[in-house]
Every structure is written in C-alpha cells, then in structure tokens.
C-alpha cells in the first residue's frame, strides 16, 4: 500500500514537473563592461532565453539589432533600420553554452566542457562545500587545461590554462540570485591575460531578471520583408 502510494506520488510529481520545466523562460538585462588599456566600453543588451535554447538578444546600441539563435546553430541578425537580416546555419554557432541557458536548464555541473572534448581528470573536495575539478583536452585547437571550482554545487571560478601552465583567463561567478527553480550569478567577471603585462577585464552584470514573464520577444521572428544578406558576401 505504501509502495503503491509512493509510486503514485512519484508519477504525479514527474507529470507536474515535466511541463513546468519545458515552459521555463527567463529574461534579463545585461550590462557588459570591457576594460583595456585604461578604456572602458559598456554595452547593454536584453536577453530572452527559453528552456528549449532559443535565445533572442536585443541590442539598443550602437543600433537596434536582434540576434536570434538556438542550440542547432541557426543564427539570424536582424537590423530594423536597414530591414536586413544575416542568416547562417552552422552547428558550431550553437548557443548551447550560453550562460543564461546553462543556468536555466541546470547544466552547470561541468559548464558544458564535456561537449567540447574536455575530460575530468581530478576532483577534490574542500571545506565549505568547495569542489575543485580539473579537466583536460588533448584535441588540437583547444586550450588544454581547465579548472572549475564550485561552491555548494554552483560554479564560482573557471580558469583556462595553456600547455605551459600559464593561465590564459579566469572567470568568477558571483552575487548569485535565487530564482524559482534555479540560481543565476548576477555578476560574471573575466580577466584574460593577453600578454605578460596586459590583461582585459570583462564584467557582465545581469539585472531585471524575470522568470516566465509574458513577453512577445521570446517568440520574436524576423519580418518576412527583411532583405536577406548572405554572411560571406564581399563588397
């Protein structure tokens, strides 16, 4: 009797959870600041991310533009001022590792490193819920070593290290927001070491994060009368 009730409860929970997960959407404003050589550029964008991986990014500067992408690698860039759309399909343009998409769908265990050929080589647990994982990839064209640190199973630090042991870039995930059914770092800071003396800092700050809002931009479609511009056109 107890076992039957448990199975019924489990079935109900699965039935309720599945459509809820499929309907999940999140929108956010993002401010991206990049500092190099004492100069800082700030770009703001709005991102509309659906659980199926469809991403609509709206830029208001330097001009109003829409970028639509999905995990299949279909990308469209639409510029309303020129009524033009650049369209391309390439598996490697997939947005499956977009930060918002990763956190929305809970795929932050290895930050999609396995999908790029990285293999876990070691995992060490430390106090305070800290786990340090080391990954390695020997495929040509890949930065060979990655270190991922999580705290209470949320990523807080990601570093890429070249074959000579030099850190190429570091990324910190901080100021986590507790949202319905998932967590999102409100701030992502990256430092890339371009030379032995210089570095470039990029800080992305998410704000106005809304889960399952009612916005038509999630389903934005490029107007049918937009002129298609091939990606490899040369003037």
């Amino acid at each position: 009797m107890a076992a039957r009730n448990f199975i019924l409860f489990l079935s109900l929970a699965v039935c309720l959870a599945a459509p809820a997960a499929a309907q999940r959407r999140v929108s956010a404003s993002a401010q991206v600041q990049t500092v190099m050589d004492g100069k800082v550029t700030t770009v703001t964008k709005e991102v509309y991310c659906s659980a199926n991986g469809r991403l609509v990014t709206v830029f208001h500067s330097p001009e109003l533009s829409y970028i639509i992408s999905n995990p299949k690698g279909e990308v469209q860039i639409y510029r309303p001022s020129a009524k033009e759309v650049i369209s391309e399909v390439k598996e490697d343009f997939s947005d499956r590792d977009d930060l918002l998409y990763l956190f929305l769908t809970g795929r932050v265990d290895d930050m999609e490193l396995a999908g790029y050929g990285y293999k876990l080589v070691s995992s060490k647990q430390e106090e305070g819920g800290i786990i340090r994982k080391a990954y390695r990839c020997d495929e040509p064209g890949r930065i060979p070593r990655v270190e991922l640190v999580t705290e209470n199973f949320l990523p807080i630090y990601l570093a890429y290290i070249d074959g000579g042991g030099k850190v190429v870039s570091k990324t910190w995930f901080t100021q986590y927001l507790k949202l319905p059914r998932f967590f999102l770092p409100a701030r992502v800071t990256n430092v890339s070491y371009t030379t032995s003396r210089d570095s470039v800092i990029t800080r992305t700050t998410y704000s106005d994060v809304k889960v399952d809002p009612d916005s038509p931009l999630f389903d934005f479609q490029v107007p049918a009368d937009a002129r298609l511009v091939p990606l490899n056109k040369r003037k």
Partner: protein
C-alpha cells in the same frame, strides 16, 4: 618533531590561502579599475566608423569591406566570423567558439578594438586580413 609539524601546518595554511585567493574575487579592485578607466562609447566608435566608411568607399571595392568585418565582429565575434571574412585558417571558428566560452568574448572584443584602430590609422583592416594566428593582434 614539533617544529616539523608546525612547518607542515604553516605550509598547508599558506597553500590553502593561496588556493582560496584563486577562486575568490576582490570585486572592489575590479570596481576601481572600471571607475578609473576612460569611457568610450560604442555609438561614437560607430559614428567614426560610418564617416570613415563613406570616405573610403572606393578602397573597399573588390576587397574586404572593413566596416562589414567590424560589424560582423561586433555581433558574431564570439564565433570568429569576422576572422573568416578577413581570411584565416579553416578551423579558426572552432577556437573562437571554445574560447568564447572561457574568455566570454574578450578576444573578439579586443579584435574589435584593434580593427577600429586599424581603420582609423590605415583606412582599412587590411593589416589583419589573412592572419592565421588566433591572437591576430599579438
């Protein structure tokens, strides 16, 4: 024996502190760097770009369109599209795709800045065309 033990504990503590420093960020230091930097507006950059584009229209005929390269970088730089447009190794997109994840678009953003500089100094991004290195400005 006690001294050895104390030394080991000290080394462990120092190692722990060093490791702790790796994955903890001093946000106030980053705030200071950003606050002290000179703000450059993307709109002003694009304004200069448009002006240069019109004045160099004849130079772009039959060659890589510098404005197109820069715009491709701005929107799709994370995929290395601008590099393919300017000519590079066939697998360059793979490196950009991976490193965008790790470097979050910084390399293509640096590409963007150096291409703007090239456009202002040379009138085109020609100096980067055909570059087969991942860091074309290195």
């Amino acid at each position: 024996m006690k001294k050895i033990l104390l030394a080991l504990v000290a080394m462990f503590a120092i190692t722990l502190a060093a490791n702790a420093a790796d994955y903890r960020l001093d946000e106030s230091a980053i705030d200071a760097v950003i606050e002290n930097a000179v703000a450059v507006s993307p709109s002003s950059i694009m304004g200069e770009l448009n002006a240069t584009m019109h004045s160099n229209a004849s130079l772009s005929a039959g060659t890589v369109n510098s404005a197109a390269a820069i715009i491709l970088n701005f929107f799709l730089g994370g995929f290395g599209v601008h590099r393919h447009y300017m000519g590079t190794r066939p697998w360059m997109w793979a490196i950009y795709t991976v490193t965008v994840f790790g470097i979050f678009g910084v390399v293509p953003f640096v590409d963007f800045i150096v291409m703007i500089v090239a456009l202002v100094e040379d009138g085109s991004v020609g100096r980067y065309c055909g570059d087969t290195r991942f860091i074309m400005w290195g």
